[in-house]
Point group: C2
Chain length 353, copies 2
């Protein structure tokens, strides 16, 4: 059984969408128990207002012990800076949920809250895996090849990065790609402006030789923006500024193209009818691009399974984020990262001697 500490108060549509997602995950994912962490009164209010069938599912999940509300009395206000709030408010939902992981009550933390606040709370409460300089947010993105998504990290936790941090991102991403995404020998690329060794900025120039000399990862060299959806790379390493900009650009382009397509297909009655006949194709396309399905992003480098999902997550995104958390926990991602980081440190020391 994987136990999930789910932040009920995080995200634009919290607590409602989180509560619904929690019910769906508790009922729909085998061997999962959800701790729904937030202000009890707010959660009760949402539950009371649920549609009849959902309320029944909720009650059933609670009575079977698959769902349990954990009160987190502190509230982060709209005008607070989230990162400051988690430092000040010990009993806000993010901190209470994170402590459930720390004390062993839960195996996984999931939140649609502010990613900076989650990362801060994770480091404050859980610390870092021994040897890890900076935890990184890893994001799974769809590519041309449906069976080969790309893991992009760091997607926003660290701004001005040192080359050594990027090397660790590569090592951690390699573990996640192998275990959760089932790539045998993940192709790891350093995101730059061209594939030649000489291309890039100072950070890339300094990181490239370090990655080239890192044993145990299949470093394929510099990659470029064209490779993001190309389906030939498994792990793209970038600093958190570049990674975050790329991630949001991908979403922006997908959204724009979806919009153009819709506009075109509505331009005449004839087109509307043809489009209706192709509904299956468009739905399948939409699913392939859906950030809610890909949205559960692990924070790699902390001793515990911490999953961050989009601020605008609906219940569906919450469901998939819980799924991502289960995958991380059952594969013991953080344990394997600890082992891999230690091995690399040992090898680096041997080389120095």
């Amino acid at each position: 059984m994987t136990r999930i500490a789910l932040d009920a108060m995080g995200g634009d549509y919290a607590p409602k969408q989180v509560v619904v997602g929690a019910v769906e995950a508790a009922v729909g994912i085998p061997d999962v128990k959800i701790y729904l962490v937030g202000r009890k009164d707010a959660i009760d209010k949402v539950v009371a207002a649920l549609a009849k069938d959902r309320k029944a599912l909720y009650s059933s999940a609670v009575s079977k012990g698959l769902l349990e509300v954990v009160d987190a009395p502190d509230q982060v206000e709209m005008d607070e800076v989230p990162v400051d709030a988690v430092r000040r408010k010990k009993d806000c939902s993010i901190n209470v949920a994170m402590r459930l992981v720390k004390d062993g009550t839960a195996d996984v933390f999931v939140s649609a809250g502010n990613s900076g606040a989650v990362a801060t709370s994770a480091i404050l409460n859980l610390g870092r895996i021994k040897g890890v300089k900076r935890p990184a947010i890893a994001m799974v993105l769809p590519t041309k090849k449906p069976s080969r998504p790309l893991l992009l990290l760091d997607a926003g936790a660290n701004m001005d990065c040192h080359p050594e941090w990027l090397v660790q991102f590569a090592i951690m991403g390699n573990v996640y790609s192998k275990t959760v995404l089932r790539r045998e020998s993940p192709a790891v690329g350093l995101l730059s402006i061209g594939t030649e060794d000489c291309k890039g900025n100072e950070l890339i120039h300094e990181t490239y030789p370090l990655l080239k000399n890192t044993d145990g990862i299949n470093f394929v060299g510099n990659i470029e923006g064209h490779d993001i959806c190309g389906g030939e790379i498994d792990v793209a390493v970038a600093d958190g500024f570049v990674g975050n900009v790329v991630l949001k650009t991908v979403e922006s382009v997908a959204h724009a193209i979806g919009g153009w397509l819709k506009t075109e297909l509505k331009k005449s009655l004839f087109r509307k009818i043809c489009a209706l006949m192709l509904k299956g194709a468009f739905n399948s396309l939409k699913k392939q691009m859906d950030p809610e399905v890909y949205g559960g992003a692990p924070l790699l480098g902390v001793p515990g399974n911490v999953i961050i999902t989009h601020g605008n997550s609906t219940h569906k995104a919450i469901f998939y984020a819980v799924k991502a958390g289960v995958a991380a926990a059952t594969n013991d991602v953080s344990g394997l990262i600890e082992k891999s980081i230690a091995e690399h440190a040992e090898k680096a020391q041997e080389t120095q001697q």
Copy 2:
């Protein structure tokens, strides 16, 4: 009449696609004269192998004085680093074409060659506009709103940037957006990881207050990847590393979605037939996303109109790059940039006193 110095040897499909594009531009764009610059023997060979109707168009353009071949005897070999080659080979096509602009024979330079080599040749031969620290490549990208494309700069000329360079990118992008893209008061954004002032890396933190205090531009603050195709921003300012990654990511996503759509629409005979009936809609969508139409990127900050287009440009991309060059020349973009940079320098000095 706008006179174009077109590098016949630049790009993956040169000289053939460039020659065809040159003919189409000379015939199809009013008041244009094309100097086709490259190894005369190579160009002659392509012309000899042209289809009958195209050959007739070529001959007609030449006889009307709309097209003229200019020999550039030096050849850049496949194994040469392009940036080094333009320094060493004085008479390679890029340098010969650039000198036509320098000596006033041509108004515009166009090339599908290596962008670094073009930028190097431009700076070597033309120099920089007085006061400009670093010329930048500006790229026009489609957004949700067909009438409001985004100008992204720098798209790859400068890697590790100083805040002052980014301010100048904003000033130059503002001029281009106003004159060529016809935006009355372009919304200028600084590409970061969120819209709040505090978001971003060191470069963003240092650049933000400078842009905020720059008169004469409509600085709307930090923007994020989501804004790239959002249609609310006219000029996105970034360092050349981030800009280049974003540009190529946009292309990668568009390409992947196009591929998924094609796959879905070919999954059954029924879908194929429906898709055929929607051909007009899909063609229109494809056109909106076509990098060849948007591909002519001006190098802003050099005293002359220098247009760089994609390495994989076909004749269509060459045609649109010539068009972009005509727009830049008839609007005197480089003259207006010189004026705007001088005004800002003057104001900055006044403030200091």
